[in-house]
Symmetry: C2
Subunit: 328 residues, 2 copies
């Protein structure tokens, strides 16, 4: 029997989940739920339904895990607790500062319904969080550093697009090589925001726009760019489409720590992701953890969990014996 999956929201992430399910033959896409007109949504998966989001609850008995593919700003804070009343749910909520309150809301709903919720699944939060935790536990006498990129930041790209005179924009976050080298050396440097990452912006301006003013508006923008060394390149619409249509991302979690009678031995643990498609990778993580949700719920676990609470074996379609023989 396959694990029956629902997808709530069919943007980049939802489409990525649909694609990832193809590589997991023990799982099956049952239905996609959308706020758009279902007739306008065309799936790649034969046999899966497209339904209005409002119809989801009526499918509660036919879906083992609902994967919530909305945004963290406004969708998930409402959707995850709501759907946890009816389904085992999983989301990629990534507003780090609001995780405790999101956890509490999902936990309350899922405990009441007897369902299981798993939040903040992806790569950061997600695989990077797991890497930070393992490293910190193994080498408590040490420090963890997280670097992002090279990759496209959607939030920063959007911020540039809101500047008058800007037609389109793409912003890349780039880790500073010198900072990476310093961290790897084990010297545990104190690094400022500016020392860790640079920001590179590619901008299509309206004809006749004041490019100097746009550049100034970008590099001085508080919270987004003012604390970074930012470079701005003006390019044509054609160059944007040709060279910047992808959504690559990635980054590093580097932990250095010391052992020995005099702390004389240095160790470096480094976890690195290099991703051609940020949403498709996040979706792939969601699908693997959806398998875990199904199993943990079947064991009777309820309430809200995070990646910290999931034993790695739950992610695999293989059983314990196969895993021990092939991967340990």
């Amino acid at each position: 029997m396959t694990i029956r999956v629902g997808i709530m929201g069919y943007g980049n992430l939802g489409r990525g989940v649909e694609l990832a399910l193809r590589h997991n033959p023990d799982m099956e896409l049952k239905a996609v739920f959308t706020r758009r007109n279902p007739d306008s949504v065309h799936l790649l998966t034969e046999g899966a339904q497209v339904l209005e989001a409002s119809k989801a609850v009526s499918m509660a008995d036919e879906i083992d895990v609902m994967i919530l593919c909305g945004g963290s700003a406004t969708d998930l804070p409402e959707q995850t607790p709501y759907y946890a009343q009816y389904f085992n749910v999983i989301d990629s909520f990534d507003t780090h500062a609001h995780i405790p309150q999101h956890f509490a809301a999902v936990d309350a709903a899922a405990k009441k319904s007897g369902k299981l919720g798993l939040i903040s699944v992806g790569w950061d939060p997600g695989m990077f969080s797991v890497s930070r935790l393992y490293a910190d536990c193994i080498l408590p006498q040490g420090s963890s550093y997280t670097f992002w990129g090279k990759g496209v930041s959607q939030g920063h790209s959007d911020a540039i697009r809101r500047i008058p005179g800007v037609v389109d924009a793409r912003q890349y976050t780039i880790p500073v090589q010198k900072a990476l080298d310093e961290v790897r050396s084990g010297s545990c440097p104190q690094l400022t925001t500016r020392e860790k990452h640079t920001r590179e912006c590619f901008v299509v301006a309206e004809e006749g726009a004041d490019k100097a003013a746009i550049e100034q508006a970008i590099v001085t923008m508080p919270n987004y760019f003012a604390d970074y060394d930012t470079t701005v390149h003006f390019i044509s619409k054609e160059e944007m489409e040709r060279d910047h249509s992808g959504i690559p991302h990635g980054g590093f979690v580097i932990h250095t720590g010391k052992t020995g009678a005099e702390n004389e031995h240095n160790h470096t643990i480094e976890y690195r992701l290099t991703l051609d498609s940020n949403p498709e990778f996040t979706s792939s993580v969601l699908v693997a953890y959806a398998r875990a949700v199904y199993r943990m719920a079947k064991e009777g676990q309820t309430g809200c969990k995070t990646v910290f609470d999931v034993a790695p074996a739950y992610l695999s379609a293989k059983d314990g014996e196969q895993l021990r023989a092939s991967m340990l």
Copy 2:
């Protein structure tokens, strides 16, 4: 209340466990058990006892987790199932091919006694295994590669020392840069043993020994060196002590995989360790997982487990709320 730990065997690994416990204030070294004369063993830890191995069982009520620090060849296959009759146990059994039978023996003993056993904890098997498993589950359309080094292989160093005319030897396993680059490119190359690693040997020969014969004996040695490109350097006893007294190691788990409607997106997951001291890092992993053993046993779990069965949160002294707020 602290977690009371026993150490069985006080070689490099056992001493490393003692040192690692210093960085974990929620844990306490209760006793070290040795086959040597206890009077000849001097601990760094005040208040901890040194006892003959035969006395261990009488301490069953005073030790929450026994960390078994013997060797995989002959010690652990006997010790881990034996002590699982009396203690929650953890070991670093690393003979990959024999893990299934070791698991079965420990599982039977621990289920009978109602104790918990955790085997094959370290970095390979251990953290590398966990990295392979996560990566394979996230990107099933992909391949994992494990590289070791640069680091000292004790087994290969010992093999050289058994050659007539050799006084001392140190063997380094070194990953081949070209192979690393090929794997990272996502091309999923088929690599032979020779293409993945080279072996570099530093040898102190007896005065008047036939160095050409020693070198020939090394590079043609079946299983150990014949399948590798091996270089041999003859050095003095003083050079050996000065330049090769450490036990560094490390390596890489690199997984590349594809996503997308046409598998058009490549992703690389890389986990890398760079370790000044192989035994001290392995000991640090053991200590973090000993905390997990204590907690899982307290929950009533019994039988044999591996790192695949341990949720990351169990490794940490912090509670779920702290972890979510600080590390997710």
